[in-house]
């Protein structure tokens, strides 16, 4: 892995983001409903509407709108003003981003810690009851949409007065760590379940493949202990594919976060997005979409670097 490779990857990410801006812009530009009317209300005078349209550049052709939007981001880090909240988009999105990151990272770390050993265990105990139970669980996990998981968790673990967890809301960790912890459990579990199921299944199949490889057979035929065969020879070789799967699943996680935040009233990007969609708040929609796509692209790059560190064949390629 050379600098040239990294630079090429960064260029590719920029290209992806450019295409995303186009796509987002195209979609939002054809959104029905005149944004100025939506902001001012139906009884606004035509003059006021025209003035606001001018202020929002809505009277200009689409490429000028696109240009002023993109140049605002690139030159001033300015995503524009929220149409509804009369606040800069960066301010609306910034705090929400932090809250979402807390949730997503918690879920992702939990998934990584649990899914890899679980998948490896299933592969090692292939064909036994343990494998069957893990398999059953993972199939069920991938078939439950977030809103169903969330609803069932709420029914059983967050009943008013008797349930061990709050039904929703958010407490910042720097204000009350215990409160934060109890609030994050249900959303994180909901968000992580599908990923957990999917990643553990992929790890199982990777690990099974590695376990039946020539070099693991060779390691066994050297008389090495089963412990060493698994820990030194088999596991490291199935880690790189596991990282690849997790990084691809981050896209799924970023989608899931929208539903989960909505259900658990978690004040993150998802809620902001839903609110913006309902109110046709174009600058916010654009910023959130771009942000989510950017996170996904960057996390894929990070995972490629991690994979290169895990696999010497990639490292020097």
């Amino acid at each position: 892995m050379s600098w040239g490779y990294l630079i090429r990857r960064l260029l590719a990410i920029i290209l992806v983001l450019v295409i995303v801006t186009f796509a987002v812009f195209a979609i939002t530009a054809i959104l029905p409903g005149n944004a100025a009317i939506m902001i001012l209300g139906e009884y606004a005078t035509p003059d006021a509407v025209a003035a606001l349209q001018k202020q929002l550049h809505l009277d200009q052709p689409w490429y000028m709108q696109y240009y002023s939007w993109v140049s605002g981001i690139l030159l001033h880090g300015d995503f524009g003003m929220s149409l509804r909240l009369s606040l800069p988009v960066t301010q609306v999105v910034g705090e929400a981003f932090l809250n979402s990151a807390l949730l997503a990272v918690t879920a992702l770390v939990a998934v990584t810690i649990i899914a890899i050993p679980l998948g490896a265990l299933a592969a090692l105990k292939r064909g036994t009851a343990v494998d069957l139970i893990i398999g059953l669980f993972s199939y069920l996990g991938t078939a439950l949409p977030e809103f169903v998981t969330a609803t069932l968790l709420l029914v059983f673990l967050a009943a008013p007065n008797t349930g061990p967890f709050p039904a929703g809301g958010f407490v910042a960790p720097w204000e009350d760590l215990g409160g934060f912890a109890s609030h994050i459990v249900l959303p994180a579990v909901t968000l992580g379940l599908i990923l957990l199921a999917h990643v553990s299944r992929q790890v199982r199949s990777e690990m099974s493949e590695v376990l039946s490889s020539d070099y693991v057979r060779a390691a066994r035929l050297k008389g090495l202990s089963e412990r060493r065969v698994i820990r030194r020879h088999a596991l490291p070789n199935s880690l790189a594919p596991a990282v690849a799967v997790i990084s691809l699943d981050i896209g799924y996680l970023l989608g899931g976060i929208i539903v989960v935040e909505e259900i658990f009233a978690w004040p993150g990007l998802g809620r902001v997005l839903m609110y913006a969609l309902e109110n046709r708040d174009l600058p916010v929609i654009q910023a959130v979409t771009l942000l989510l796509a950017g996170i996904y692209a960057v996390s894929n790059l990070v995972s490629d670097i991690v994979i290169a560190l895990l696999d010497p064949r990639v490292r020097y390629a």
């Binding site: 490889s213 020539d214 070099y215 693991v216 057979r217 060779a218 390691a219 066994r220 035929l221 050297k222 008389g223 090495l224 202990s225 089963e226 060493r228 030194r232 020879h233 490291p236 070789n237 895990l310 696999d311 010497p312 064949r313 020097y316």
Partner: protein, 558 residues
């Protein structure tokens, strides 16, 4: 060359010690959906101390099952139905898995067919050798690495210390196999199983590994079971040989006796199938040499610079990419069989692709008065008259088409016969390649490897071409099938007068078939000669090395 490959004299008979390995009346089956399938039946085999025994068989003969049985490494669906396997007198069938783990790698070890898959890609080579020594010899890490370095040096690795720090993908195929051998010998085992250790290697590398095998055997007096499909090779390295066919050992004995006076029919058939360079089976050479196709200064560059690169970095554009073939001049005569020989990566398949119009090239390709300077110029007429047969019949036949459709396609495409005669012609073509006519209704997966290759050949000849290019067509087939396919080609050549370019790495085979032989090395044509001059002194040094590296079977000399 015969000297260093001669069997090492052993003291097996004079020794009173227990034999290294005794297998008595051993049988093995596999549980499958179709019930028990027998893999090994009543096997008897003895390897004396310091002795090397060859186990020779074609694919599916059970020779690999034998290796797994001895190593006690059987899949869960294996059922052992009796017998005994004794290592130095100890019954291994009674050993617990734990005891077996102690024996594997220390008293008994194994060298595998493909070193590129049997070494762990993410662990440095040093650790992969040292871990055996630490496990079985109880050495410390420092001691184990020092010992590993010595073991590597013994296998002829020039800079062993450097090699310890490398990953497998940073070593060549030959180096990797030396590492595997060093690991196998590390704990000075009583028995080593060699499972086709040279099959995945190039000719010259294979030869070096064989030499190494003989040298180490002499130095260590280890007992060995040498498993191979290659009779010629086995006859050069073993003392005794057992021939296995469909799970039964059909014949065993000292290697000279088995090859000179084979008793079993199967052994005779196997020996008959081994190509003997002195037995000519090809067609008569054309009386008047007449050029059919000519390659004029043909070159192929992989990863050639793009227009943009040429524009901005004109200096670099000369050096980017690499030449799969460069400056190749070959003429192919009407009705002849031209052999193209080389190791993998020599450019021989690149030439096949150029001839078949599958590869962009520089230079000129002349055919029947026309000159093509570019792959895209090549017209339908040329494509009809030059046909290609691929190495792997599994890959070259569309799995979703019936044999009749596959063979019938060129007939329809080129309008060789009227539409209503296609089925009849397909039947004729099947008969020509000695397949039953009702095979037309089958799908490729219902045929064996040899049968599939016959279908591919029938498809090539269906177009009634002037030239057929055979790219390693026998390489993926078993020995006995190889011989039959080669004979079939010769017969078709005799019947049709078609010229043939036969690309191969098998020098013994090509000397049976070809009128002229071209030798390629690193993308260049290094030698081009008439077959009778193969042993002439004017040959290129590389040609000589190749010829010397290939063992001519014992029986062939006798």
């Amino acid at each position: 060359m015969t000297v260093s490959l001669a069997p090492v004299a052993t003291d097996a008979n004079s020794s009173t010690e227990k034999p290294a390995l005794v297998i008595r009346n051993y049988s093995l089956s596999y549980r499958t959906d179709n019930g028990l399938v027998s893999a090994l039946k009543n096997i008897d085999l003895t390897i004396g101390k310091g002795q090397t025994v060859g186990l020779v068989g074609e694919s599916g003969s059970g020779k690999s099952s034998m290796a797994w049985s001895v190593m006690r490494y059987l899949p869960p669906n294996a059922v052992e139905t009796g017998g005994a396997i004794r290592l130095a007198g100890e019954e291994m069938l009674d050993f617990s898995p734990r005891q077996m783990a102690d024996i594997r790698g220390s008293r008994m070890s194994m060298v595998f067919q493909d070193p590129s898959t049997s070494l762990n890609p993410t662990i440095r080579i040093g650790e992969q050798i040292a871990e055996v020594l630490m496990r079985h010899r109880g050495l410390t890490k420092i001691e184990a690495y020092a010992y590993a370095e010595a073991a590597l040096a013994r296998t002829g690795i020039t800079r062993p210390k450097e090699m310890l720090g490398r990953y497998p993908h940073e070593a060549s195929g030959g180096e990797k196999q030396r590492v595997v051998i060093a690991t196998a010998f590390a704990c000075e085992p009583e028995l080593i199983i060699f499972d086709e250790p040279t099959t995945a290697l190039d000719i010259l590398t294979a030869r070096q590994i064989l030499d190494l095998f003989n040298q180490l055997r002499e130095e260590t007096n280890v007992s060995a079971l040498y498993i191979s499909h290659d009779l010629g090779l086995v006859s050069r390295v073993v003392d005794e040989v057992s021939v296995i066919h469909k799970g039964v050992i059909v014949e065993s004995g000292p290697v000279q006796d088995v090859f000179r006076r084979p008793k079993a029919d199967y052994t005779r058939q196997l020996i008959g199938a081994v190509p003997n360079p002195d037995r000519w089976i090809g067609v008569d050479a054309p009386a008047v040499p007449e050029t059919l196709v000519k390659l004029d200064d043909v070159g192929v560059r992989y990863g050639a610079p793009t227009k943009l690169q040429k524009l901005f970095w004109p200096k670099d554009s000369e050096t980017t990419g690499f030449w799969g073939a460069k400056g190749v001049n070959i003429d192919i005569r009407k009705g002849e069989l031209l052999g193209v020989v080389g190791e993998s990566g020599s450019g021989k398949s690149t030439i096949a692709k150029v001839l078949a119009g599958l590869q962009d090239f520089e230079g000129r390709l002349e055919f029947a008065g026309k000159t093509f300077a570019n792959r895209k110029d090549i017209d339908r007429a040329y494509r009809r008259r030059v046909q290609l047969v691929f190495q792997h019949p599994d890959a070259s036949l569309n799995p979703r088409q019936r044999i009749g459709t596959i063979i019938g396609r060129p007939l329809k495409l080129y309008g060789v016969v009227p539409a209503d005669k296609v089925a009849a012609r397909v039947a004729e073509l099947l008969e020509m390649v000695r397949l039953p006519a009702d095979y037309a209704k089958r799908y490729p997966h219902q045929l064996s490897g040899g049968e599939k290759q016959r279908v591919a050949i029938a498809r090539a000849f269906a177009a009634e071409p002037d030239l057929v290019i055979c790219d390693e067509v026998t390489a993926a087939l078993d020995v006995s099938v190889q011989a039959a396919v080669a004979e079939l080609l010769v017969k078709l050549q005799k019947d049709t007068g078609t010229a043939c370019v036969f690309i191969t790495h098998d020098l013994n085979l090509i000397r049976q078939l070809a009128h002229r032989i071209a030798v390629m090395h690193h993308g260049k044509l290094v030698d081009f000669f008439d077959r009778p001059d193969a042993r002439s002194d004017d040959r290129d040094a590389y040609t000589k090395a190749l010829l010397d590296a290939v063992p001519v079977p014992e029986a062939a000399i006798a």
